[in-house]
């Protein structure tokens, strides 16, 4: 036991050091050096999605909304200790207070988390994870990675997912049980819930993408950047390296030739 813990710590530190080396990438684009493997995993995930996740999510969408919300609230409430731990690790006192208050209110007055009473009182949920904690400590994303079943991530955030599992009290308390079903159930329900809420969006995206893998990678990395900026995102710069190609009036090349509607 002790031995494996030491092994884990050493591996963990080495991996983190790798991320740190890659910090310079963070400003630019997150690279995808293992695209071939990622695309293979992506195809695997897609087949899991069309065989199981999507049909289940479609079936689940027939459950009346209050029921779906209740289930979602319960599992969100159970995530509070992970969020709180990361709030503290990020020295985010305000959100640590909010998370604690929300957990207490929703557990007691929300009947074990069925109702999100705290949000109704104006105490909004803040969501964070160990990947974001690592980011606050200055670790770069490393590289883009597609995790089996879990989907798009970065090297740093994948480590974060692992650490979040370890610090999850739900995991710790159920560790000694013979059949530890709680954790997989939680992950599956969160997955089905997410898929159900995005049934149309994902279908549309798939239909209108010429390269679905590349589109999803772009969306994930853009979204991740916004989360890092606390949603106060700057409108991304288009970084036109060849803006000099534009004419004085802002038009470009082809336009001048074909434009007749002045």
């Amino acid at each position: 036991m002790k031995n494996s813990l030491i092994k884990f710590t050493i591996t963990f530190l080495i991996l983190l050091a790798l991320c740190k080396v890659n910090t310079s990438y963070a400003q630019e684009q997150t690279p995808d050096p293992f695209e071939k493997i990622n695309r293979a995993v992506f195809i695997f995930n897609e087949s899991i999605d069309s065989a199981f996740l999507k049909p289940i999510a479609t079936l689940y969408s027939t459950v009346p909304e209050p029921g779906r919300n209740a289930l979602r609230n319960i599992f969100r409430n159970l995530e509070s200790p992970i969020i709180l731990t990361n709030n503290i690790l990020q020295a985010d006192i305000y959100n640590a207070q909010t998370t604690t208050l929300r957990f207490l209110i929703n557990t007691i007055f929300g009947l074990g988390g069925i109702f999100d009473t705290a949000s109704k009182l104006g105490i909004e949920r803040n969501d964070t994870n160990f990947g974001e904690t690592l980011e606050k400590y200055g670790f770069g994303p490393g590289f883009y990675i597609v995790l089996p079943i879990l989907g798009p991530s970065t090297f740093r955030d994948a480590i974060g997912i692992g650490v979040d599992q370890i610090i999850d009290p739900l995991n710790i308390t159920t560790k000694n049980l013979q059949n530890n079903w709680l954790q997989p159930t939680k992950t599956s329900i969160r997955g089905v819930d997410f898929r159900e809420r995005n049934l149309n969006t994902i279908d549309n995206l798939k239909e209108t993408s010429l390269d679905y893998y590349a589109t999803l990678r772009s969306l994930y990395l853009q979204r991740r950047k916004n989360i890092a900026n606390n949603e106060n995102y700057d409108i991304p710069s288009l970084d036109l390296d060849d803006d000099d190609d534009l004419n004085e009036d802002g038009t470009c090349c082809v336009y001048v030739e074909t434009s007749t509607d002045e």
């Binding site: 010429l210 288009l238 802002g250 082809v254």
Partner: protein, 201 residues
Amino acid sequence: MKYFNTNIFVALLIFFLSPFVFASLSISAEKDEALKFIENLGNKAILMLSNENYTEDQKISEFEKLLDQGFEVQLIARYALGKYWRKTPKIKRQEYVAAFRKFIVDSYASRLGQFGGEKFYTNNVREDGKRGFIVNSLIETPSGTKVKVDWRVKKINNALRIYDVVIEGISMVITQRDEFSSIIQRSGGNIDPLIKKLQNF
């Protein structure tokens, strides 16, 4: 100092300051114009989408009208090609732009029926680089979800045009560019497979 007549002084002051005053006045007028432009276009779009008298085909042709009125499709196409634009010969560019426009229309055409009942609010505008503005807006879906949508607009040939739409911080141009460059890279730097994909969409 007595030679320095106050009236002359004031006149000089006005003379030297006026460019700044007029510049800032004209910028705020342009800002207003950009805000009105998006407001106008958004309201037109919402009216069109919720009009139940339109057939599918009518909706599509109305959509194309709005697209050409409001969006600089050629510039969007050019940005979406990123660094490959420069490497593409002029004739190929035209072929690509035409394919891109068709792709945009086709990919939205099938989804127009999904919309209706949205509310649209513009709330702010700020300068963005040369000749450009960013207009912030909010779209409220019938279920009450609020979506932040930012519009990048620019004066082109004296008319305001949209060249990027940023939804909750996700830029359509950047997403498209990432996708297109992935396709081109995987085709060994050749743009033809992309054009074919756009045409056959």
